[in-house]
Subunit: 215 residues, 2 copies
């Protein structure tokens, strides 16, 4: 009997290959044979671990989104203890969030999710529902702490979080709808997003870009 560890490895390899191939071809064009090849495995093995093409898709997508969310949350943790230079740490975190967002795998998963909502309505719970807006809400938590500490205006933290994320991802998706932009451009976008965000949400004696008014 093959060891349990070996089974898990095969299953994981299949799920990874599935995401890769689905990303490359889309759901319909991806054929199970190609996924099996990509995983270095025979076709019946795929059906042995994951009964359907449909459940294969579902499992692969949930795993991939889980990983992506985890990466975002890890990045957000750096906002827990912002030093004294809020703008700088915000820019760093924003840039990293944007890197996650523009990562090739992330783009592919979002595209698939977006494309196949008609056929897999249950997958919408990955982006909506309880575990859905996790990233936005985690950011909102951080922003709320910052507001309470007097470092941001007292505004609805959920709204602020949504808008900051929009300022980051909107321009990026608009200018580079397909492939990932060079890191320089990401930095430019992140810088501009944080600048606009701070102009709108900085603490009430407004501290604008260059000059700080009475610390």
């Amino acid at each position: 009997m093959p060891t349990a560890r070996g089974r898990i490895d095969k299953r994981q390899a299949i799920l990874d290959a599935a995401i890769t191939v689905f990303a490359r071809r889309g759901y319909d064009q991806a054929c199970v044979q190609e996924i099996a090849d990509e995983a270095g495995v025979a076709k019946p093995t795929v059906y042995n671990h994951l009964t359907d093409k449909a459940t294969l898709f579902r499992e692969a997508m949930t795993a991939a989104t889980g990983a992506a969310v985890a990466r975002h949350l890890a990045t957000l943790d750096r906002l827990a203890v912002p030093g004294d230079d809020l703008r700088t740490v915000l820019e760093e975190v924003a840039l990293d969030l944007l890197r996650c967002h523009c990562d090739e795998r992330s783009r592919a998963v979002r595209r698939l999710l977006h494309a196949e909502t008609a056929r897999f309505p249950d997958l919408l719970s990955l982006v909506r529902g309880p575990s859905g807006h996790r990233v936005t809400e985690a950011l909102a938590d951080r922003l709320a702490r910052l507001a309470l500490a007097g470092r941001l205006r007292g505004a609805d933290p959920s709204l602020a979080a949504e808008q900051l994320i929009a300022l980051l991802t909107g321009p990026a998706d608009l200018r580079w709808p397909v492939s990932s932009p060079p890191d320089d451009d990401l930095a430019t976008i992140a810088h501009a997003a944080v600048d606009t965000f701070l102009r709108a949400f900085a603490a009430d004696p407004p501290v604008s870009q260059e000059r700080a008014i009475h610390t």
Copy 2:
């Protein structure tokens, strides 16, 4: 011989039906027979007017995006002569832009465009390229005029336009990834977006939401 007008009508009916069915099923799942039925036409007629399923898709998508862009541009024209209450007219225009963006047909076209970029890379010219960023650039033009008239800060108009659009569409897409939100929520989002936008881009003696600081 059927009149030339009749031919055009049939072709148009086919293109409309194509968008409808592609939106409903996605490219692969949509079968030509169903499109023919939806258009009230026989299958060979479809192949008579549009040689391929692929070219059918291409033609339908270009027509649909053209119409959508036109609607956006018409809405933007109302920014040409903003009365004295900039915030109000901005909110109105923003709400209408958002309505266009969230329109069912618009969503479907964006989804299809996004989903089939792998198979139809040439369709990317609809969203990028010369005729691509037309809406953003038209908005940038309006904002540039407003800045020159001293009613907005002197900032890069393209950036401002991108960010305003991001503030509008980002939250909307985040909260209602599939169907169109109720109009009340659109208004809330538009209001919040314009508020943040004006906080960041209002003319230099900053006039914030309620109170004007030393005119």
